[in-house]
Every structure is written in C-alpha cells, then in structure tokens.
Amino acid sequence: MSAREALAQRQRAVLDDLLAGRVPDGFDPVGSAATTRVLHRKRSAGAVHACPELAELPRWRDRFHAWAAAHPAQGCAHDDVRRFAQSLAVTDPDWVRLHEVHDGARRLAWIRIDGRHVLLVRLGTSVLRLTRRRPTTDRRPT
C-alpha cells in the first residue's frame, strides 16, 4: 500500500470515529470528546446560519449534535438542514411547518408556538406571524 493510501485509510477511520463521537483506538478520551464537540458545533453553527429558525426548535443544538453524530455531512449546511428537518417530521410537525414557510416550500401554516396558535404568512422574503389576541375581561370600549 502506498503512503497516500495508508494515510487515507487512517485519516478516514479516525475522522469517522470522531464525527460519530467514538474515541479512536489509542487516542486521549478527553481530547477526543472535545474534538467531537468542536466538529459538531461547527456543523450546527453552519446549519443555524443557513436556517435561523432552527434556533426555535426546542433543545435544537443538543438534538442537532445527536443527529449529526449518526449522519456524516453530505454536502453543505443547507443539505444538513434539509436532512435534519426530514428527521423531525413525526416528532416536531409544527417546527417543520415553520421551516417550510421560511424555506418557501409553503406560503401559509397554522402552528403552535409556546402553546399559542400562530398563523405564519410568507410575504416575499419575510414571514409574518399573526396571533389571535385573547379576549380579555377588563377591556372596555372607550
């Protein structure tokens, strides 16, 4: 095996371990865990930059990192967001609809944010959030 082939296989095996959160054989466990966190944070920083509404998904960072450990990057941050969003279809349908409105895949969506119903409307490049005001007893006509 050539030096390049040997190096390729070695670097790939170690990177595969670190991306998945495993300690490569013979590596320091503390430094390996820190490297894994750095790798995952770089990826989540890229994802939230590409998709700012990711920050509205509860515990998004931890959940994205757990997903990233099992799903090596294929493509750019936008591809990461697309694949991660697909994995949330069942658990977080409200967030997925929010993402789809931001993404342009749909124009309107009724979702619940913090227990409140919100109508999302895409207008050009911005997204309006309309909340029905709760009727209150102390409001009197003036």
Binding site: A3, R4, E5, L7, A8, G26, F27, D28, S32, A34
Partner: protein
C-alpha cells in the same frame, strides 16, 4: 536538530505591525485604524471572497499601501489526497485579485476519503482543520502536497499550525520538529498561531514556551492571535471570545524570543470570526498592540 534559515525559505514582502482578519462588519474600524497608522496588514479568507468582486473596503486598504494576505481554509494540504487543482487555481486567482504578498493555509486535513484516489467517493467532510498524524510517512505526503501548491500559486505559501486537542498514537515528531522539517524541505513560510500553539500544548501537556522557542522563527511570515475559552481543562480556540491572558503572555514571550535571536518581529494579527463588531474587535486590537509594544519596551501613551 535541523535549523531553518533564511536561505531555506521563500522570500516575500515583510508583514509588520498589528494586523487584523478583514471582515465586513469591521471594515470602517480597520479603515480608520489604517488612516491612523495603526494597521500593518489585513488577511482575507479566500473562501469568502469572489476574485471578480473584491469588497471595496479591501481594495481601499490595498490602494492605501496595506498588504492583503489571502488565507485559505479548505485546501487540506495535510490530507492524503493530492491537492485539488480547482481549489488551488481559485486560491491563486484570489491572491492575484488582492495583490497578496503571500497565500496562507494550514497544516491540516479537512476531509478524508477511504481511498487517496479522488474518483472513489465516500468522502467525510470534517468542516474543521484537523491535525494530521506527525509521522515521517505523513510528512512525505505533506511535503509533496506543499510543493505542488507552491508550484501552482503565484506568490509564496505560508502554513499555519492548527489547534490540536488530540495527538495521534503514531506521532513520531513533535510539532516544532515537524514544522522545521517542513520548512527545510519545501522552503515554505509559516504562520505561527500562538493561540493554537497554546491550545495544542495544553491538550498534550507540554510547555508552550519551550515549544515556541523551538519553532523556526526565521521562517514565520506573520503571527496569529485569537480568543478562546476553557472547557474540561482544555483550551478551545473559538475566535469568538477575548484573547485570554496566558495567550497574550505567550505572544509577549514570542516578542522576547525574536529580540533575543536578533530577528525582526513579524506582523501580529488578530482573528475574530463570531460576534464581529467594532465594539468586540477594537479593544482586542488595542490589547494586542499594547502587549507587543510593552514587550518591546515602547509603551504607546
């Protein structure tokens, strides 16, 4: 021990004074500091600039006579695969568009395929500058890649030490010896990142000062310094926090080492990549400038 000397390294226009990583949110701050004579050079991340549409702020600095270094982050010269010709060509085009005295990159791998043949896919992208194993065999591959890059680039190449939170069990050379051999065999220049050195030395339990003194100082084109944070007893080079005192102290040590070796001190630049604004970068530039000036015994008043 082999020592690198002037005759080994590629000649380039010297970089001096306090520099900064040019970023759009601090364009005005840097222009102002340049006018005040307090900016020696800037560095532009090659991947963030279109060689056909150089930002006006960068062009203005260049026209004012400031060197603009092209800094690449995705070449992966310490990877197993041959250097990507398209990436090299783009790096060269940016360097030409910016009139750069040098291109800098890293002693790192950023992706890994199961085979060195780029046509066989299955590539893992690290999205990060990963430290390579420091073996003789890996050094041969690195030297090959660096020579290829040097042949293709229009200006000298300077290579930076990365922050390594892990070492490889097969490492045969320590970092100063590894970088010295790289310089001797390729004539490349170095970017000495004192924050990365501090991070790596902390992680491997070595003395950063002792290692710093063994770096081939005469080959250093310029110095990087950046902020970071502590986590689990390790120092993370985040480029998102203030420069901590131990890193600033290492910079001061470096100034003394140049003085002792009677070598001219290369330019020292601050990198900041998150939360970039005049309010975060301005005071940090003042601190770096102040630390270097004090170390040289000439305090700005």
């Amino acid at each position: 021990m082999i020592h690198a000397s002037e005759e080994h390294t590629q000649h380039m226009r010297p970089l001096q004074g306090t520099g900064a990583g040019w970023r759009p949110p601090i364009a005005d701050l840097l222009a102002e500091r340049a006018r005040a004579g307090r900016l020696g050079f800037v560095e532009v991340v090659a991947e963030n600039v279109d060689p056909r549409a150089v930002p006006a702020g960068v062009t203005a600095l260049r026209e004012a006579g400031l060197p603009v270094v092209t800094h690449g982050v995705t070449l992966g010269l310490a990877g197993a695969d041959r250097v990507d010709g398209a990436r090299l060509a783009r790096l060269g085009a940016v360097a030409q568009a910016l009139g750069s005295p040098a291109v800098s990159e890293h002693v790192a791998f950023v992706r890994a395929a199961s085979s060195a043949d780029p046509l066989h896919g299955d590539v893992l992208e690290a999205g990060h500058l990963m430290p390579p194993p420091r073996t003789r065999e890996a050094l041969d591959v690195l030297v090959d890649n660096v020579r290829e890059a040097q042949a293709a680039l229009p200006v000298p190449l300077a290579l930076e030490n990365v922050a390594a939170l892990v070492g490889w069990p097969e490492d045969e050379l320590d970092e100063p010896a590894w970088l010295t051999e790289l310089v001797v065999r390729t004539g490349c220049r170095l970017v000495l990142d004192v924050a990365n050195l501090f991070s790596s030395a902390t992680a491997r339990g070595t003395d950063p000062v002792a290692e710093l003194c063994r770096f081939p100082l005469e080959a250093v084109a310029y110095v990087h310094v950046a902020g970071g944070t502590w986590e689990d007893g390790l120092y993370l080079d985040t480029h998102a926090h203030p420069v901590p005192d131990p890193v600033l102290a290492l910079l001061t040590t470096l100034v003394a080492a140049y003085d002792e070796a009677r070598l001219p001190l290369p330019g020292v630049m601050l990198e900041r990549d998150s939360d970039v604004s005049p309010a975060t970068v301005g005071p940090e530039l003042d601190r770096v400038e102040g630390a270097v000036a004090r170390a040289r015994g000439r305090v700005r008043t």
